[in-house]
């Protein structure tokens, strides 16, 4: 009996410690996000303008160089969706509506989501690995001692770059996904081009694209902040860099899905 109470007590303390750890991480993430927003949007108004050189470099790094993989994945998603829906639709005799289904699914949900998930893996991981290595090799300490703010120097360019490029990539992913569905629909599935396009245009609304873009802005914030936070808290060596890079991708992906759920339900009730 005594050992049982001891066991429960021990577990209680352990979970209390785990909860404290979690809250500490959340508050750390919050403070870093606040500092980043301050450095990016408030400081330029107070006479410390952002330098655009590093932002361009990062935009090329995270945006332009990601187009290939984003195009490929969203095109294939469009193709797959067309095949999957054609099978069900043909049983209802509504094969012409494949275009509408693919279009709505891609621009409302899969375009923004798949782009963000791909970018969490491609860009979030590289942010954590790069800045984590800088932390380990004292480069971030060197910045601080040179009276340069690491947040402004390292995170702001990446933040601005992704904030601009992720919505751009999302729009292109939307286009490629719809194109993928169209190609399969009009060739393999044998749907006529005119009804395919008509039904698609009927179903898709501008608000769907706009909500997708709003989501992608939120996803960009999640990817940059989680990636940077997990890099800045690294202490130790190469092992920790690897560990935090992995966590960065996992946590970003989970947070992206949760944010997606929140926004989807919000838009569902608003519109």
């Amino acid at each position: 009996m005594k050992s049982l109470i001891g066991y429960i007590g021990q577990k209680g303390f352990q979970s209390r410690d785990a909860a404290f750890d979690l809250f500490r991480e959340i508050s750390g993430l919050y403070y870093l996000t606040r500092a980043t927003l301050y450095c990016t949007f408030v400081e330029p108004l107070r006479g410390k303008p952002n330098k655009w050189g590093p932002v361009w470099t990062q935009m090329e790094e995270v945006g332009v160089k990601s187009t290939g993989i984003v195009f490929l994945i969203s095109f294939l998603i469009g193709v797959i969706l067309a095949f999957q829906s054609a099978y069900q639709m043909s049983r209802l005799g509504a094969l012409d509506y494949v275009g509408a289904l693919v279009g709505v699914a891609v621009i409302r949900e899969l375009g923004p989501l798949m782009t963000a998930l791909v970018m969490a893996g491609r860009v979030g991981a590289s942010f954590t690995a790069e800045m984590g290595t800088m932390k380990v090799s004292d480069e971030i300490l060197a910045l601080e001692t040179m009276a340069l703010n690491p947040v402004k120097f390292l995170i702001t360019p990446r933040f601005l770059a992704l904030l601009i490029m992720l919505p751009c990539l999302t729009i292109m992913a939307d286009l490629m996904g719809v194109l993928g569905g169209y190609v399969v629909g009009t060739t393999t599935l044998g749907i006529d081009s005119a009804p395919y396009i008509n039904h698609s245009l009927e179903a898709m609304k501008v608000t769907d694209i706009v909500t997708g873009l709003i989501k992608s802005v939120v996803f960009a914030v999640i990817i940059v902040m989680v990636g940077s936070y997990l890099a800045f808290i690294i202490e130790g060596g190469a092992e920790k860099v690897g560990e935090n890079t992995r966590s960065s991708v996992v946590i970003s992906m989970v947070l992206i899905i949760i944010a997606d759920l929140l926004f989807t339900s919000l838009f569902y009730f608003i519109t």
């Binding site: 800088m134 090799s137 480069e139 060197a142 040179m146 340069l148």
Partner: protein, 267 residues
Amino acid sequence: MIVVKNLYKSFGEGDKKIVVLDDFHAQFERGKITSIIGGSGSGKSTILKLLIGAYQADAGEIIVDGEDMTKLGNDGLNEVRKKFGIMFQSGALFNSLTVEENVALPLREHTDLNDSTIRIMVKMKLEMVGLRGAEHLKPAQLSGGMIKRIALARAIALDPKIVFYDEPSAGLDPISIGVIDKLIMDLSRKMWITSIVVTHEIPSAMRISDKIIMLFKGKIIADGSPEELENSSDPRVVQFIKGDPDGPIPFSKSQVDYGEELKQMKM
């Protein structure tokens, strides 16, 4: 000039609390070279990190040109840091930037000089460390000694009043050590720079220092000119300077008796 009074620093909490620095006090004067020596784990690097504001002291004062650094906020600290140049042990050069961009970084960020002036200044600093012509290399393409010299060039890019050197000559060949020693001496004698050198290279410390502070387990055990240290009768100082394997400073870090520990191990 930096005056440090009654500085304390410890890490960890409760049972695991380790006092790394116990009542450290020192006076670093303009134009003088002060070396801080001591074995590994004696608190040398901790002092350096406290002085540059990377750690917060538990108690004590660090007064830089009349301002107490321990009481300053972030903005004030950054103002003080602009007077500093720091040469890190690992160099801490930015790997994504070329040598020229590394040395130019403090100039670009803290001055309004135009690009051609900055390039000229970078060339001057690189000539001082004997690496003119390495402008377009990346840090990964440099040897350890070259990285330290570039790090020195970056540390003095803004012509600071105070320069900290963290193990400036560790792992270098004798000629490079000589070059770095001469640079440190030239900088402090000719440009009136306050130099603080953390090192365990005794010959180099003896050669360049005006004053040497020796630490042992976070406490100052000797403080004086190189001659005074050489003539010291403290067995710990004598052992450290001569590099004797036997003496009052233990080599083994473990707290438990070796024989006891072996007996308790199960087969």
